[in-house]
Amino acid sequence: MDLSPVLDGFGVVLEPTNLLYCLIGVVIGMLIGVLPGLGPAATIAILLPLTFGIEPVTAIIMLAGIFYGAQYGGTITSVLLRLPGEASSVVTVFDGHALARQGKAGTALGIAAIGSFVGGTVSIVALSIVAPVVAGFALDFGPPEYTALALLGILLVSTVSSGDRLKAVVAASIGLLLATVGRDGFTGAERFTFGSLDLADGLDFVPIAMGLFGLGEILHNLEERHRAVQAPAKVANVWPSRADLRRSSGAIGRGSVLGFLLGILPGGGATLSSLAAYALEKRRSKTPERFGRGAVEGVAAPETANNAAATSSFIPLLTLGIPANATMAVIFGALLIQGVTPGPQLVSEDPELFWGVVNSMYVGNILLLVMSIPLVGVFVRILRVRATVLAPITVLITLVGVYTVRNNVFDIVLVIAFGALGYLMKKLGFDPGPLVLAFVLGSLLEESLRRSLLLFGGDPTGFLTRPISGTLLALFLVVALLPLVRPLVRAALGRRRAPAPTDTHHPDHKELV
């Protein structure tokens, strides 16, 4: 492996501007991530306008910073208030909040920060080795392979989304449909524009992401009965003791590996890996009854795993151009707006950008570790501000922010419309994540499909005779048909219900975006 582009990447990261933006990203990400109910996807979506008008590398470094910051911000609310800021920190609540009630909130936050740092760092090293290999493999992918890959990616993300899988696929289809609005790239025909000039260039990604994730989430939270949120526990002594560190070192090690592996899978991501890591630790533990009553491992494992997964979920995005989850879809959209098309050619054609972004993750993780511990006091103070006060401010940031992207009032109209849609979708059991992901991949999918059909002279069996696209489509069919087959299999086996530790292929976990 040629190391010089990797080292050049460090040169890019260590430029003062980039360091500064990385710092700003991490801090803002933590600040917004602390707000209950707003997960990383919503946080990044709301902050997208900040990244325009800066250099692509810098912008992405900042976005990545916002991403880890938001991850850690969610942990803080989980531990102190028992209000997970995002789905990947929900398991942390069980032991984190128990620790806080025993007056050991500092320990929980400290161990979470250390675990996040280790998990993230292990994952970046593995990413640096794996990503160029995957990208090299994918270099000779043609339109048929991309068609199959995009279809499989969308389906996998839909099957692991929260709630009903059928509804998630409906959401994805609507995303594909929205992507067709505007002028057709091949024929120039206007599609679904209803004669509107504003729609002729197609729907912009920013108002869709900000509306569905940001406003939709805030509106959905309006209906929630306001809990009597008690004042957050006092946080003292953030440094975990030696005994705590020793006890959680195994959990951190296993969490790093598990998180890295699950993060690569489309749809896997941070939430699934945090659940799996917690389950693994409880299963391995000699004293499983401590879990739920304030076991440090119960905080260390999920927090390590979710950060490792968050990092490794960049692999499919940066090497294949296929985002693995809703948050990555938002980052994908941001890259496209910056004029960067993620894909296998990124490593070879734009090594400075690729390695700059990858190496900035080391810096981001160090900043996270350094900033999180002294800033805990600030976050606790933010948590004292009521959600009813923060919500209108976030709404206004969204409305004004979306305007600043293109200086266009129509974008404000769009963000409100998609906010309403996002609310309705969450209300009616449709996860907005697959919609955004499918919207982002929509034009790539349509274009590859049409090119493939031209390539095959109109014979769709051509997809199946190429080895890679054939394999991917076979996988697609397996994933699509599994839910239909499973009840039959289960009926055939009688109603014997085995414990399901490896039950990772149909989790309908909550992706609180």
Binding site: R82, V90, V91, V93, D95, H97, A98, G163, D164, R165, L166, V169, S173, L176, L177, T180, T187, A189, R191, I218, L219, H220, L222, E223, E224, A228, Q230, L275, A279, R283, P288, R293, T388, A391, P392, V395, L396, L399, Y403, T404, V409, I412, V413, G419, A420, Y423, L428, G429, L449, R450, L454, P483, L484, R486, P487, A500, P501, D503, T504, K510
Partner: protein, 199 residues
């Protein structure tokens, strides 16, 4: 396949009762935290759904499913108005046509499974808060081109604080004015964003 495994409890009483007590009093540590992935997912769902309204009935699920079918049908109709083409010569309408067909099929499957679905929430009195919130934003965008962003923005913040958040009058007035002043300083004075403004 549509029954939600990790769904909220069928009887919503538990969820609403939880809201009245301090959150800490209903910690999951009183019951054992499950060790399997599946069990954990359910526990996670319950935690996330604690404060949510009850699920909607079967009639609502049928309406939702029919709306999906209608959207698919409209898409197919729209695609037919474009050039659907053939596999050998795909046109502008080919892809929308396929997506429309998929939506119709999925919608019909949702109709068939409507009785077994429990993941849509019922609309309650609190849903009017959302309508009011949306209305305040619509007023914002309608007025911004006419009188600039300051007054509509103050109105949005005020409505959200006073009527949606039930904050006091004084706090609502002071905060909304302060927020608009802050936005003015950041976006107009510092960043010179060309957003329509009065002053």
């Amino acid at each position: 396949m549509t029954s939600r495994r990790g769904g909220r409890p069928a009887v919503p009483g538990g969820a609403t009762a939880a809201g009245d007590r301090p959150a800490a009093a209903v910690g999951p540590d009183e019951a054992a935290v499950p060790g399997t992935l599946h069990g954990l997912e359910e526990a996670v769902h319950e935690l996330a759904d604690e404060d949510r309204p009850p699920p909607a009935g079967p009639a609502a699920n049928v309406v939702i499913a029919l709306a999906v079918v209608a959207l698919g049908a409209a898409t197919v109709a729209g695609a037919l108005g474009l050039d659907v083409g053939s596999p050998a010569t795909p046109g502008a309408g080919t892809w929308p046509f396929l997506v429309g067909v998929v939506l119709v099929v999925l919608g019909l499957a949702l109709v068939a499974l409507a009785r077994r679905t429990a993941d849509a929430e019922r609309f309650t009195g609190a849903s009017w808060l959302v309508v009011a919130g949306l209305a305040s934003m619509v007023v914002f965008v309608a007025l911004i081109g006419v009188i600039g962003f300051e007054i509509p923005a103050a109105l949005v913040v005020f409505v959200w604080l006073r009527f949606l958040g039930h904050e006091g009058w004084r706090l609502s007035v002071v905060t909304s004015l302060a927020v608009v002043a802050g936005f003015y300083l950041v976006f107009v004075a510092a960043l010179s964003v060309p957003i329509p403004h009065l002053f």
